[in-house]
Chain length 210, copies 4
């Protein structure tokens, strides 16, 4: 902590400490919520994980729900930003898709708690954050759809492909397999597994036409 603070306090960083604490809490929250689910996680566990007092959590966040919303927003927002960048750099739809799938899988591999939280909230109704969840979800799906459409326009994938459907299918597939293979303390390396997804999708998209 000492080091971090020194590094930051140099340049008029007012509120740097507050931001750091927020991040600390958010990190702890992802871990606990990912493990136990939103309702199952307790604020007590979160603050213990973060090593701060309970009051502090409520100083920084209005409620447990706000923490969760913040996690989802941040996580999905970052992912979407990266998708945008990947799309911009890629020289074709399919290569953008490969990049996105890879990025998505890696993110979940590196942060399985976030993945779990994400997947278990995806279909839940009546949460305070359901609205922003849907927005983020649609943004992510939209970015994938764009690249599928692009690939189609480029003539690089089968014209019969239903981009709306496939976008959803890709997300589900990546989510499910990633989470599955993290738990399998299996011999399966992250790379091998990502290779598998990409291979699967490529064949599904290109198909027999050639």
């Amino acid at each position: 902590m000492g080091r971090v603070r020194e590094a930051v306090s140099r340049q008029g960083e007012k509120g740097g400490k507050a931001r750091a604490t927020r991040a600390l809490l958010l990190d702890a929250a992802v871990k606990v919520i990912g493990r136990k689910g939103y309702t199952g996680a307790t604020v007590d566990e979160i603050v213990e994980e973060a090593g701060v007092s309970k009051g502090l959590a409520y100083y920084h966040f209005k409620s447990k729900a706000e923490m969760a919303e913040s996690i989802l927003d941040t996580g999905m927002g970052e992912l979407a930003d990266e998708f945008v960048e990947i799309a911009a750099c890629a020289d074709s739809g399919p290569s953008a898709l490969v990049g996105m799938i890879e990025r998505f899988a890696v993110k979940i591999f590196e942060n399985k708690e976030f993945g779990r939280f994400f997947v278990s909230e995806l279909w839940r109704e009546g949460r305070v954050w359901s609205g922003s969840m849907r927005e983020n979800e649609e943004r992510l799906l939209g970015l994938i759809r764009d690249q599928l459409a692009r690939a189609k326009a480029e003539g690089l994938i089968r014209p019969e492909i239903d981009v709306d459907f496939e976008a959803v299918a890709l997300v589900g597939m990546v989510l499910t397999t990633s989470l599955y293979y993290i738990d399998e303390k299996a011999a399966v390396s992250k790379e091998a597994f990502i290779e598998n997804i990409i291979d699967f999708v490529r064949h599904a998209n290109v198909g027999t036409e050639q």
Copy 2:
């Protein structure tokens, strides 16, 4: 109803009413738990949905956890049984797979609450039923793997296919897209959507090699 009961209550049918009440409660439980998640659902809501008293729920089930376990066991067990039958009747691996995918999707379409419960518990640790969940999950995956292997042996799908991976991917894809398309009050018909999955998988499996 009164008459029927009297007529049969003499014999083994002694527990007929009991069985009916259990089913009533279980139905209510899937609905509520599917909507709010296991921890989020309360026994009060469940019994209200079922229209019975709380005492009665505890007469039939030892605990809320037992209800949930029962739901999962029954639902996944039925599915597995049907998979077994489909596998037995199919004349080839791929046709068995198509049957399974179809059956799985239809089941979720007809009971989205079960689907939601299933997906949200899939990656959760530390539940009393985690063990039986894993078993059921493995049984389901095993049945799919078998058919993938069969298809491979039959030379009907690409030899490079990793059956372990694909079994998981299929489950995730079907789960995700089904749940997504139920929520979309969209114009997408169940049939059209299932067609999409099957088409996607067929191409992924057969690939360019032809």
Copy 3:
């Protein structure tokens, strides 16, 4: 408790126990809230005073606020009902007013906690029960106003009297003096003190014109 129950349980009194418990809780709540004020009173104290578990309080009342609202509604409602009866039986406006003042004072004397709660909530805004409080208050004031108007019509009080004003003044005077004289463990008897109020009001109303 045993005796009460026996007395009640005889005649198909289903829910009699529930009603008794509600009353028990309400009694305890008036005491504690009257002593410490609404915000100052804790549910813990209330249930301890009632000798029941905390859960039970929330089984019977949705919230602490609902308890308070219930107290106010019941207390003010009873008072208003009695005012109606007094008005009906009285043979003149002034005699009705005397009856009301007396009744009001006695009620507070016998239940100072209710009086305190009442007076401290009278001017508070933004409570969940503020609405029903206003209604009850207006009902009470209206009944007093009616009798003032009647007395005026009967020519028994000065014609310049502003009935709107006086109704409020009477309530305030009775409330304040009653509460003051309860606390004074003084030698002042309830009767002597009520006599004082009535004398004061009579002169104010009849005045010098005679």
Copy 4:
């Protein structure tokens, strides 16, 4: 302001800013406490209303209770001082009483939050300031009693009047009606309303004996 401060900060004016901040906080505190009650008001709200930091509030006041005590002491003290002056200037008991009633009503009209706070604390036990509250209350009542006694001695009010009782009644009546008529965004002017009180009291005091 900067210049002024520099010019005077040398001497006794050292605490000029401090005094200003205290006043700022006290003003904010009356507003919030009058609105929400003592226990209902939070230090956070008070400092926000005052536009200063929480630390500053605790620099100037030892505790929230001290703020409240200070408000009550100041407000009641000022009122008492004014009563003393009114008594000294008045040429008769009744005219002093009229002056006091008027002053009291005006004070509440101009600062309804103080009035609300006052009335809601009047009957509360167990506050740290309950002692000084009682003292102030008694001082106020004493000053009124003195003038009632004087009026009686002057033969200007009925001899049967119980001065102890009436002092309390006057305070309650003024408090209640003032607060009521402030809330009524009614057409009732402050002057007309005060006229009403005075007229009521005069008749009550002089009565039929003439």
